[in-house]
Protein backbone atom coordinates (compact mmCIF):
# COMPACT_ATOMS: atom_id res chain seq x y z
CA UNK A 1 0.00 0.00 0.00
CA UNK A 2 2.77 2.41 0.92
CA UNK A 3 4.59 1.59 -2.30
CA UNK A 4 1.62 2.54 -4.47
CA UNK A 5 1.13 5.79 -2.57
CA UNK A 6 4.75 6.67 -2.98
CA UNK A 7 4.50 6.08 -6.69
CA UNK A 8 1.60 8.44 -7.09
CA UNK A 9 2.79 11.32 -4.89
CA UNK A 10 5.92 13.39 -4.84
CA UNK A 11 5.66 14.88 -1.31
CA UNK A 12 5.84 13.18 2.14
CA UNK A 13 2.49 11.75 3.07
CA UNK A 14 0.84 11.08 6.40
CA UNK A 15 -0.02 7.47 7.23
CA UNK A 16 -3.67 6.72 7.79
CA UNK A 17 -5.05 4.44 10.49
CA UNK A 18 -5.31 1.58 8.02
CA UNK A 19 -1.71 2.01 6.92
CA UNK A 20 -0.51 2.28 10.52
CA UNK A 21 -2.36 -0.93 11.41
CA UNK A 22 -0.86 -2.70 8.40
CA UNK A 23 2.66 -1.55 9.31
CA UNK A 24 2.25 -2.57 12.96
CA UNK A 25 0.70 -5.90 11.99
CA UNK A 26 3.58 -6.74 9.68
CA UNK A 27 6.18 -5.75 12.27
CA UNK A 28 7.69 -3.09 9.97
CA UNK A 29 6.70 -0.41 12.45
CA UNK A 30 6.92 -1.18 16.16
CA UNK A 31 5.11 0.62 18.98
CA UNK A 32 5.43 -1.85 21.82
CA UNK A 33 3.35 -2.56 23.77
CA UNK A 34 0.10 -1.09 22.47
CA UNK A 35 -2.29 -1.69 25.34
CA UNK A 36 -5.34 -0.96 23.22
CA UNK A 37 -6.11 -0.61 19.53
CA UNK A 38 -7.97 2.54 20.54
CA UNK A 39 -4.57 4.19 20.79
CA UNK A 40 -4.47 4.24 17.01
CA UNK A 41 -6.29 7.30 15.77
CA UNK A 42 -7.22 8.41 12.26
CA UNK A 43 -3.63 9.34 11.45
CA UNK A 44 -1.59 8.92 14.64
CA UNK A 45 -0.78 6.62 17.54
CA UNK A 46 -1.26 7.77 21.13
CA UNK A 47 1.74 7.42 23.42
CA UNK A 48 1.67 6.92 27.16
CA UNK A 49 3.90 8.32 29.88
CA UNK A 50 6.51 5.85 31.14
CA UNK A 51 7.90 5.47 34.63
CA UNK A 52 11.15 7.42 34.35
CA UNK A 53 11.41 11.20 34.51
CA UNK A 54 14.14 13.79 34.55
CA UNK A 55 13.14 16.88 36.44
CA UNK A 56 14.95 20.15 35.79
CA UNK A 57 15.99 21.81 39.03
CA UNK A 58 16.18 25.58 38.81
CA UNK A 59 17.59 26.10 42.28
CA UNK A 60 21.06 24.79 41.75
CA UNK A 61 22.29 26.53 38.61
CA UNK A 62 22.25 30.18 37.63
CA UNK A 63 22.14 29.43 33.90
CA UNK A 64 22.89 26.84 31.22
CA UNK A 65 26.06 27.69 29.33
CA UNK A 66 27.18 25.39 26.49
CA UNK A 67 30.75 26.48 27.22
CA UNK A 68 30.65 24.68 30.57
CA UNK A 69 29.46 21.54 28.89
CA UNK A 70 32.47 21.54 26.57
CA UNK A 71 34.82 22.17 29.50
CA UNK A 72 33.21 19.48 31.63
CA UNK A 73 33.20 16.93 28.82
CA UNK A 74 36.97 16.72 29.16
CA UNK A 75 36.50 15.46 32.69
CA UNK A 76 33.84 12.79 32.75
CA UNK A 77 33.13 13.07 36.46
CA UNK A 78 32.54 16.83 36.25
CA UNK A 79 30.34 16.35 33.22
CA UNK A 80 28.15 13.85 35.05
CA UNK A 81 28.13 16.04 38.12
CA UNK A 82 26.93 18.97 36.04
CA UNK A 83 24.11 16.93 34.50
CA UNK A 84 23.08 15.64 37.92
CA UNK A 85 22.95 19.14 39.35
CA UNK A 86 20.51 20.23 36.70
CA UNK A 87 18.40 17.13 36.19
CA UNK A 88 17.05 14.89 38.90
CA UNK A 89 16.13 11.36 37.83
CA UNK A 90 12.87 10.11 39.23
CA UNK A 91 11.38 6.67 39.07
CA UNK A 92 7.60 7.04 39.17
CA UNK A 93 5.77 3.74 39.75
CA UNK A 94 2.38 3.11 38.18
CA UNK A 95 -0.47 4.74 40.09
CA UNK A 96 1.97 7.26 41.57
CA UNK A 97 1.89 10.88 40.59
CA UNK A 98 4.27 13.42 39.17
CA UNK A 99 3.33 17.07 39.61
CA UNK A 100 4.35 19.47 36.90
CA UNK A 101 4.26 22.99 38.25
CA UNK A 102 3.47 26.07 36.26
CA UNK A 103 6.42 26.93 34.03
CA UNK A 104 8.15 23.66 34.88
CA UNK A 105 9.82 21.27 32.45
CA UNK A 106 10.13 17.54 32.87
CA UNK A 107 11.58 14.97 30.51
CA UNK A 108 9.61 11.72 30.63
CA UNK A 109 10.01 8.53 28.71
CA UNK A 110 7.16 7.06 26.75
CA UNK A 111 5.85 3.74 28.00
CA UNK A 112 6.07 2.38 24.47
CA UNK A 113 9.23 1.38 22.65
CA UNK A 114 9.11 2.77 19.13
CA UNK A 115 11.01 1.53 16.08
CA UNK A 116 10.63 3.28 12.76
CA UNK A 117 11.61 1.74 9.42
CA UNK A 118 13.92 3.54 6.98
CA UNK A 119 11.08 5.13 5.04
CA UNK A 120 9.04 6.54 7.92
CA UNK A 121 9.63 9.59 10.09
CA UNK A 122 7.60 10.56 13.13
CA UNK A 123 6.34 13.80 14.60
CA UNK A 124 5.33 13.82 18.26
CA UNK A 125 2.83 16.32 19.61
CA UNK A 126 0.66 16.69 22.69
CA UNK A 127 -2.83 15.29 22.51
CA UNK A 128 -5.22 18.17 22.16
CA UNK A 129 -7.13 17.37 25.38
CA UNK A 130 -3.94 17.83 27.38
CA UNK A 131 -2.78 20.83 25.35
CA UNK A 132 -5.98 22.59 26.44
CA UNK A 133 -4.86 22.18 30.04
CA UNK A 134 -1.62 23.96 29.21
CA UNK A 135 0.52 20.86 28.76
CA UNK A 136 2.97 21.26 25.93
CA UNK A 137 5.37 18.81 24.40
CA UNK A 138 8.12 21.25 23.66
CA UNK A 139 9.67 21.75 20.31
CA UNK A 140 11.97 18.79 19.58
CA UNK A 141 9.29 16.57 18.15
CA UNK A 142 10.82 15.05 15.04
CA UNK A 143 11.76 11.37 15.18
CA UNK A 144 14.26 10.18 12.59
CA UNK A 145 13.72 7.17 10.34
CA UNK A 146 15.38 4.03 11.76
CA UNK A 147 14.97 5.32 15.31
CA UNK A 148 14.55 2.60 17.89
CA UNK A 149 13.98 3.30 21.57
CA UNK A 150 11.71 5.08 23.97
CA UNK A 151 10.75 8.61 22.97
CA UNK A 152 11.58 11.41 25.35
CA UNK A 153 8.68 13.76 25.89
CA UNK A 154 9.79 17.24 26.88
CA UNK A 155 6.73 18.22 28.86
CA UNK A 156 6.18 21.75 30.04
CA UNK A 157 3.28 23.34 31.82
CA UNK A 158 2.35 26.58 30.12
CA UNK A 159 -0.72 27.07 32.29
CA UNK A 160 -0.94 28.69 35.69
CA UNK A 161 -2.23 25.64 37.53
CA UNK A 162 0.00 22.65 38.38
CA UNK A 163 -0.79 19.47 36.44
CA UNK A 164 -0.62 16.03 38.03
CA UNK A 165 0.57 13.28 35.70
CA UNK A 166 0.42 9.51 36.17
CA UNK A 167 2.49 6.91 34.31
CA UNK A 168 0.33 5.26 31.67
CA UNK A 169 -1.61 8.40 30.73
CA UNK A 170 -1.90 9.06 27.00
CA UNK A 171 -0.55 12.59 26.73
CA UNK A 172 1.22 12.45 23.37
CA UNK A 173 0.66 11.19 19.87
CA UNK A 174 2.99 10.33 17.04
CA UNK A 175 2.06 11.00 13.43
CA UNK A 176 3.97 9.01 10.84
CA UNK A 177 5.15 10.35 7.53
CA UNK A 178 6.30 8.17 4.67
CA UNK A 179 9.41 9.50 3.00
CA UNK A 180 9.98 9.86 -0.69
CA UNK A 181 13.25 9.09 -2.32
CA UNK A 182 15.62 6.22 -1.91
CA UNK A 183 15.68 5.17 1.72
CA UNK A 184 17.99 2.20 1.18
CA UNK A 185 20.99 2.34 3.46
CA UNK A 186 19.53 5.07 5.66
CA UNK A 187 19.68 2.90 8.76
CA UNK A 188 23.19 1.68 7.98
CA UNK A 189 24.33 5.30 7.65
CA UNK A 190 23.66 5.96 11.32
CA UNK A 191 19.98 6.85 10.97
CA UNK A 192 18.02 7.07 14.16
CA UNK A 193 19.80 10.14 15.48
CA UNK A 194 21.76 10.88 18.65
CA UNK A 195 19.17 9.39 21.01
CA UNK A 196 18.79 6.11 19.10
CA UNK A 197 18.55 3.11 21.41
CA UNK A 198 17.48 5.16 24.44
CA UNK A 199 15.92 3.32 27.38
CA UNK A 200 15.18 6.44 29.38
CA UNK A 201 15.35 10.23 29.02
CA UNK A 202 18.79 11.76 28.94
CA UNK A 203 20.34 15.19 28.65
CA UNK A 204 21.01 16.29 25.07
CA UNK A 205 24.34 16.97 23.40
CA UNK A 206 24.03 20.72 23.15
CA UNK A 207 27.29 21.57 21.48
CA UNK A 208 28.20 18.60 19.28
CA UNK A 209 29.64 19.97 16.05
CA UNK A 210 29.24 23.61 17.11
CA UNK A 211 32.39 23.94 19.21
CA UNK A 212 33.88 26.41 16.68
CA UNK A 213 31.41 29.08 17.77
CA UNK A 214 31.94 28.80 21.49
CA UNK A 215 34.76 30.70 23.19
CA UNK A 216 37.26 28.50 24.99
CA UNK A 217 37.56 30.74 28.05
Amino acid sequence: MLESRRGSRSAMSLLTRREILASLGSGRLVVSPLLSSKQIGLASVDLRIGTTALLARASDLSHVDPKNIITYRKVQFKSEQSARRKLERLSVPYRSQLTLHSGGVVLVSTYEWVRLPADLAGVVTARSSWAREGLSIATATFINPCYSGIITLELSNLGQVPIVLYPGLRVAQIALHSMDGDSAGVCADGGGGQFDGAFEPGAGKLTDGDEAFIPSS
Binding site: A22, G27, Y94, G168
Partner: protein
Protein backbone atom coordinates in the same frame (compact mmCIF):
# COMPACT_ATOMS: atom_id res chain seq x y z
CA UNK B 1 17.62 -5.51 47.66
CA UNK B 2 20.82 -4.56 45.89
CA UNK B 3 22.59 -3.62 49.10
CA UNK B 4 24.56 -6.73 49.90
CA UNK B 5 28.29 -6.69 50.20
CA UNK B 6 30.49 -6.53 47.14
CA UNK B 7 30.14 -10.22 46.38
CA UNK B 8 27.95 -11.69 49.10
CA UNK B 9 24.31 -12.58 49.49
CA UNK B 10 22.50 -12.27 52.79
CA UNK B 11 19.15 -13.18 54.29
CA UNK B 12 17.95 -11.18 57.30
CA UNK B 13 14.85 -11.36 59.42
CA UNK B 14 13.30 -8.05 60.37
CA UNK B 15 12.90 -8.35 64.15
CA UNK B 16 12.37 -4.70 64.94
CA UNK B 17 8.75 -4.58 63.83
CA UNK B 18 7.95 -8.29 64.18
CA UNK B 19 5.57 -7.73 67.13
CA UNK B 20 3.25 -5.43 65.16
CA UNK B 21 3.19 -7.36 61.89
CA UNK B 22 0.86 -10.14 60.84
CA UNK B 23 3.47 -11.52 58.48
CA UNK B 24 7.17 -12.19 58.89
CA UNK B 25 9.43 -10.16 56.66
CA UNK B 26 12.71 -11.60 55.39
CA UNK B 27 14.98 -9.36 53.39
CA UNK B 28 17.15 -11.06 50.79
CA UNK B 29 20.17 -9.01 49.78
CA UNK B 30 22.24 -9.55 46.68
CA UNK B 31 25.54 -8.05 45.58
CA UNK B 32 25.32 -4.56 44.21
CA UNK B 33 27.56 -5.59 41.33
CA UNK B 34 24.66 -7.67 39.97
CA UNK B 35 22.17 -4.82 40.18
CA UNK B 36 21.87 -4.23 36.46
CA UNK B 37 22.29 -7.87 35.38
CA UNK B 38 18.65 -8.84 35.46
CA UNK B 39 19.23 -12.23 33.80
CA UNK B 40 21.53 -13.19 36.67
CA UNK B 41 18.84 -12.22 39.17
CA UNK B 42 17.39 -15.65 38.49
CA UNK B 43 19.95 -16.97 40.98
CA UNK B 44 18.00 -15.00 43.56
CA UNK B 45 15.68 -18.03 43.77
CA UNK B 46 18.42 -19.90 45.61
CA UNK B 47 18.62 -17.21 48.31
CA UNK B 48 14.85 -17.14 48.65
CA UNK B 49 15.17 -20.88 49.30
CA UNK B 50 17.33 -20.07 52.33
CA UNK B 51 14.70 -17.60 53.55
CA UNK B 52 11.98 -20.24 53.02
CA UNK B 53 13.96 -22.73 55.11
CA UNK B 54 14.05 -20.22 57.96
CA UNK B 55 10.44 -19.15 57.64
CA UNK B 56 8.55 -22.28 56.61
CA UNK B 57 9.06 -25.42 58.72
CA UNK B 58 7.19 -27.40 56.07
CA UNK B 59 10.13 -27.01 53.70
CA UNK B 60 12.03 -29.39 55.97
CA UNK B 61 9.85 -32.23 54.68
CA UNK B 62 11.40 -31.82 51.24
CA UNK B 63 14.83 -31.35 52.78
CA UNK B 64 14.57 -34.61 54.69
CA UNK B 65 13.45 -36.43 51.53
CA UNK B 66 16.57 -35.11 49.83
CA UNK B 67 18.87 -36.30 52.61
CA UNK B 68 17.02 -39.57 53.19
CA UNK B 69 19.48 -42.52 53.44
CA UNK B 70 22.21 -40.49 51.79
CA UNK B 71 25.75 -39.96 53.00
CA UNK B 72 24.60 -36.58 54.26
CA UNK B 73 23.02 -38.36 57.22
CA UNK B 74 26.09 -40.42 58.04
CA UNK B 75 29.25 -38.46 58.81
CA UNK B 76 31.60 -41.42 58.35
CA UNK B 77 30.35 -42.03 54.83
CA UNK B 78 30.33 -38.31 54.21
CA UNK B 79 33.99 -37.91 55.20
CA UNK B 80 34.98 -40.96 53.22
CA UNK B 81 33.20 -39.53 50.14
CA UNK B 82 35.10 -36.25 50.55
CA UNK B 83 38.34 -38.21 51.03
CA UNK B 84 37.90 -40.30 47.89
CA UNK B 85 36.41 -37.73 45.58
CA UNK B 86 37.73 -34.42 46.81
CA UNK B 87 41.05 -35.59 48.30
CA UNK B 88 40.29 -34.21 51.74
CA UNK B 89 43.08 -35.51 53.99
CA UNK B 90 42.47 -34.46 57.57
CA UNK B 91 39.37 -35.44 59.43
CA UNK B 92 37.89 -32.64 61.54
CA UNK B 93 35.53 -32.97 64.50
CA UNK B 94 32.27 -34.87 64.10
CA UNK B 95 30.32 -31.75 65.00
CA UNK B 96 31.97 -29.83 62.20
CA UNK B 97 31.39 -32.63 59.71
CA UNK B 98 27.76 -32.84 60.76
CA UNK B 99 27.19 -29.13 60.23
CA UNK B 100 29.06 -29.30 56.92
CA UNK B 101 26.81 -32.12 55.68
CA UNK B 102 23.77 -30.14 56.81
CA UNK B 103 25.05 -27.10 54.88
CA UNK B 104 25.54 -29.15 51.72
CA UNK B 105 22.03 -30.57 51.93
CA UNK B 106 20.61 -27.07 52.37
CA UNK B 107 22.56 -25.74 49.40
CA UNK B 108 21.26 -28.45 47.08
CA UNK B 109 17.77 -27.91 48.49
CA UNK B 110 18.01 -24.18 47.75
CA UNK B 111 19.19 -24.90 44.20
CA UNK B 112 16.07 -27.00 43.68
CA UNK B 113 13.97 -24.28 45.28
CA UNK B 114 15.44 -21.70 42.89
CA UNK B 115 14.87 -23.94 39.89
CA UNK B 116 11.24 -24.65 40.72
CA UNK B 117 10.52 -21.05 41.64
CA UNK B 118 12.33 -19.31 38.77
CA UNK B 119 11.99 -22.01 36.12
CA UNK B 120 14.50 -22.95 33.41
CA UNK B 121 16.12 -19.46 33.53
CA UNK B 122 17.67 -20.52 36.83
CA UNK B 123 19.97 -23.04 35.09
CA UNK B 124 21.97 -20.64 32.87
CA UNK B 125 22.15 -18.06 35.67
CA UNK B 126 23.52 -20.80 37.92
CA UNK B 127 26.13 -21.97 35.41
CA UNK B 128 27.18 -18.41 34.57
CA UNK B 129 27.67 -17.37 38.18
CA UNK B 130 28.72 -20.52 39.98
CA UNK B 131 30.68 -22.54 37.47
CA UNK B 132 33.63 -20.10 37.13
CA UNK B 133 34.35 -20.35 40.85
CA UNK B 134 34.82 -24.12 40.57
CA UNK B 135 37.10 -24.22 37.57
CA UNK B 136 38.81 -26.17 36.18
CA UNK B 137 37.23 -29.49 37.15
CA UNK B 138 33.95 -28.51 38.77
CA UNK B 139 34.90 -30.81 41.63
CA UNK B 140 36.94 -28.61 43.93
CA UNK B 141 36.47 -28.85 47.67
CA UNK B 142 34.71 -25.93 49.32
CA UNK B 143 33.64 -26.71 52.90
CA UNK B 144 30.46 -24.62 52.86
CA UNK B 145 29.06 -25.81 49.54
CA UNK B 146 28.90 -29.13 47.68
CA UNK B 147 30.96 -29.39 44.48
CA UNK B 148 29.59 -27.58 41.46
CA UNK B 149 29.16 -30.79 39.47
CA UNK B 150 27.03 -32.34 42.19
CA UNK B 151 24.81 -29.28 42.35
CA UNK B 152 24.54 -28.94 38.60
CA UNK B 153 23.62 -32.59 38.15
CA UNK B 154 20.95 -32.30 40.83
CA UNK B 155 19.51 -29.34 38.95
CA UNK B 156 19.38 -31.22 35.67
CA UNK B 157 17.78 -34.26 37.30
CA UNK B 158 15.17 -32.06 38.99
CA UNK B 159 14.47 -30.16 35.77
CA UNK B 160 13.90 -33.44 33.96
CA UNK B 161 11.76 -34.87 36.74
CA UNK B 162 9.51 -31.82 36.61
CA UNK B 163 9.35 -31.93 32.80
CA UNK B 164 11.04 -28.58 32.41
CA UNK B 165 13.21 -30.26 29.81
CA UNK B 166 10.96 -32.01 27.29
CA UNK B 167 13.37 -34.87 26.62
CA UNK B 168 16.69 -36.24 27.74
CA UNK B 169 18.32 -34.67 24.67
CA UNK B 170 16.65 -31.32 25.16
CA UNK B 171 14.30 -29.58 22.77
CA UNK B 172 16.91 -27.58 20.89
CA UNK B 173 16.41 -24.46 23.00
CA UNK B 174 17.28 -25.74 26.42
CA UNK B 175 19.87 -28.05 24.92
CA UNK B 176 22.13 -25.12 24.20
CA UNK B 177 21.74 -23.79 27.69
CA UNK B 178 22.57 -27.10 29.30
CA UNK B 179 25.36 -28.01 26.91
CA UNK B 180 27.93 -26.53 29.22
CA UNK B 181 26.57 -28.54 32.11
CA UNK B 182 26.56 -31.75 30.14
CA UNK B 183 30.12 -31.15 28.97
CA UNK B 184 31.15 -30.64 32.52
CA UNK B 185 29.64 -33.95 33.55
CA UNK B 186 31.25 -35.78 30.68
CA UNK B 187 34.60 -34.32 31.63
CA UNK B 188 34.09 -35.55 35.15
CA UNK B 189 32.40 -38.79 34.21
CA UNK B 190 35.09 -41.00 35.62
CA UNK B 191 35.11 -39.28 38.95
CA UNK B 192 31.36 -39.01 38.97
CA UNK B 193 30.97 -42.74 38.49
CA UNK B 194 33.20 -43.29 41.49
CA UNK B 195 30.98 -41.23 43.76
CA UNK B 196 28.74 -43.17 46.12
CA UNK B 197 25.34 -43.39 44.50
CA UNK B 198 23.53 -42.35 47.66
CA UNK B 199 24.85 -38.80 47.62
CA UNK B 200 23.45 -38.12 44.17
CA UNK B 201 20.53 -40.48 44.40
CA UNK B 202 18.31 -39.64 41.48
CA UNK B 203 15.13 -40.73 43.17
CA UNK B 204 15.89 -38.60 46.24
CA UNK B 205 16.28 -35.55 44.05
CA UNK B 206 13.17 -36.36 42.07
CA UNK B 207 11.05 -36.98 45.16
CA UNK B 208 12.38 -33.84 46.87
CA UNK B 209 11.63 -31.78 43.73
CA UNK B 210 8.08 -33.05 43.53
CA UNK B 211 7.59 -32.41 47.27
CA UNK B 212 8.93 -28.88 46.87
CA UNK B 213 6.76 -28.23 43.82
CA UNK B 214 3.71 -29.42 45.76
CA UNK B 215 4.70 -27.17 48.66
CA UNK B 216 4.96 -24.17 46.33
CA UNK B 217 1.60 -24.99 44.76
CA UNK B 218 -0.01 -24.36 48.14
CA UNK B 219 0.99 -20.72 47.63
CA UNK B 220 -0.98 -20.64 44.39
CA UNK B 221 -1.79 -17.08 43.44
CA UNK B 222 -3.24 -16.57 40.02
CA UNK B 223 -1.27 -13.39 39.37
CA UNK B 224 2.05 -14.24 40.98
CA UNK B 225 2.37 -17.93 41.77
CA UNK B 226 5.39 -18.95 43.81
CA UNK B 227 6.12 -21.82 41.44
CA UNK B 228 7.19 -20.85 37.93
CA UNK B 229 4.20 -21.29 35.59
CA UNK B 230 4.53 -23.75 32.71
CA UNK B 231 6.25 -22.25 29.72
CA UNK B 232 4.16 -21.67 26.62
CA UNK B 233 6.42 -22.52 23.65
CA UNK B 234 4.53 -20.28 21.21
CA UNK B 235 4.78 -17.30 23.53
CA UNK B 236 8.44 -18.01 24.22
CA UNK B 237 9.24 -18.14 20.50
CA UNK B 238 7.49 -14.81 20.03
CA UNK B 239 9.46 -13.20 22.87
CA UNK B 240 12.78 -14.45 21.54
CA UNK B 241 11.94 -13.21 18.04
CA UNK B 242 11.23 -9.74 19.47
CA UNK B 243 14.41 -9.72 21.53
CA UNK B 244 16.55 -10.71 18.57
CA UNK B 245 15.22 -7.60 16.79
CA UNK B 246 16.63 -5.61 19.71
CA UNK B 247 13.26 -4.65 21.09
CA UNK B 248 12.35 -5.18 24.77
CA UNK B 249 10.46 -8.51 24.75
CA UNK B 250 7.42 -7.34 26.68
CA UNK B 251 5.13 -9.51 24.54
CA UNK B 252 5.19 -11.17 21.12
CA UNK B 253 4.54 -8.60 18.39
CA UNK B 254 0.82 -8.04 17.76
CA UNK B 255 -1.06 -9.60 14.89
CA UNK B 256 -4.02 -8.08 13.05
CA UNK B 257 -7.47 -8.84 14.43
CA UNK B 258 -10.96 -7.80 13.42
CA UNK B 259 -10.86 -4.89 15.88
CA UNK B 260 -7.32 -3.79 15.14
CA UNK B 261 -4.38 -5.53 16.76
CA UNK B 262 -4.04 -8.28 19.33
CA UNK B 263 -3.37 -6.84 22.81
CA UNK B 264 -0.10 -7.55 24.63
CA UNK B 265 -0.07 -10.70 26.71
CA UNK B 266 0.34 -10.71 30.46
CA UNK B 267 3.60 -12.59 30.86
CA UNK B 268 5.31 -13.74 34.03
CA UNK B 269 8.74 -12.15 34.52
CA UNK B 270 10.31 -15.61 34.76
CA UNK B 271 9.35 -16.30 31.16
CA UNK B 272 10.93 -13.02 30.13
CA UNK B 273 14.15 -14.12 31.84
CA UNK B 274 13.98 -17.48 30.08
CA UNK B 275 13.45 -15.74 26.73
CA UNK B 276 16.44 -13.53 27.56
CA UNK B 277 18.70 -16.53 28.11
CA UNK B 278 17.51 -18.23 24.94
CA UNK B 279 18.12 -14.98 23.06
CA UNK B 280 21.62 -14.82 24.54
CA UNK B 281 22.37 -18.37 23.40
CA UNK B 282 21.38 -17.39 19.86
CA UNK B 283 23.45 -14.23 19.66
CA UNK B 284 26.58 -14.38 17.58
CA UNK B 285 28.37 -11.64 19.51
CA UNK B 286 28.86 -12.99 23.04
CA UNK B 287 30.72 -9.97 24.38
CA UNK B 288 30.09 -8.56 27.87
CA UNK B 289 28.76 -5.39 26.23
CA UNK B 290 26.14 -7.36 24.33
CA UNK B 291 25.20 -9.21 27.50
CA UNK B 292 24.75 -5.87 29.28
CA UNK B 293 22.49 -4.63 26.45
CA UNK B 294 20.46 -7.82 26.51
CA UNK B 295 19.96 -7.36 30.24
CA UNK B 296 18.65 -3.85 29.65
CA UNK B 297 16.14 -5.05 27.05
CA UNK B 298 14.86 -7.70 29.45
CA UNK B 299 14.77 -5.31 32.43
CA UNK B 300 12.83 -2.80 30.33
CA UNK B 301 10.37 -5.49 29.25
CA UNK B 302 9.78 -6.49 32.88
CA UNK B 303 8.99 -2.85 33.75
CA UNK B 304 6.67 -2.58 30.74
CA UNK B 305 4.89 -5.74 31.88
CA UNK B 306 3.94 -3.89 35.07
CA UNK B 307 1.98 -1.51 32.82
CA UNK B 308 0.28 -4.45 31.08
CA UNK B 309 -0.63 -5.89 34.47
CA UNK B 310 -2.03 -2.54 35.62
CA UNK B 311 -4.06 -2.24 32.41
CA UNK B 312 -5.43 -5.77 32.56
CA UNK B 313 -6.43 -5.38 36.19
CA UNK B 314 -8.39 -2.23 35.37
CA UNK B 315 -9.97 -3.95 32.34
CA UNK B 316 -11.02 -6.87 34.51
CA UNK B 317 -12.62 -4.53 37.06
CA UNK B 318 -14.37 -2.64 34.25
CA UNK B 319 -15.71 -5.88 32.80
CA UNK B 320 -17.35 -6.91 36.08
Amino acid sequence: MAQGKFADYAVRYDETTAHVRRRDIYSVFFPRTLKDQVLLHAIFGHEIGHAALEAQPRTYDALSVLRDNSILTDIDSFFSWCQVNLHVQHRVSDEYLKSQAACWAKEIFCDLFGLIMIGPAFIPAFTTLIEPSYRPSGFEYVPSHPPYSTRALALLQAARALHMLPSEEGDGKIAQLTKELDNNFKANATRYEQTPYAFLDKSNIERASVALADFMDTFADELSPLRCPTTDERMLDGLVAVLLQRIPPVSPLPHPTRDGLSPPELIDFRHLLYAGWIGWSKMTDASPEEFAKLNRYCAHAILQQEGVRCWNRAEAVGAQ
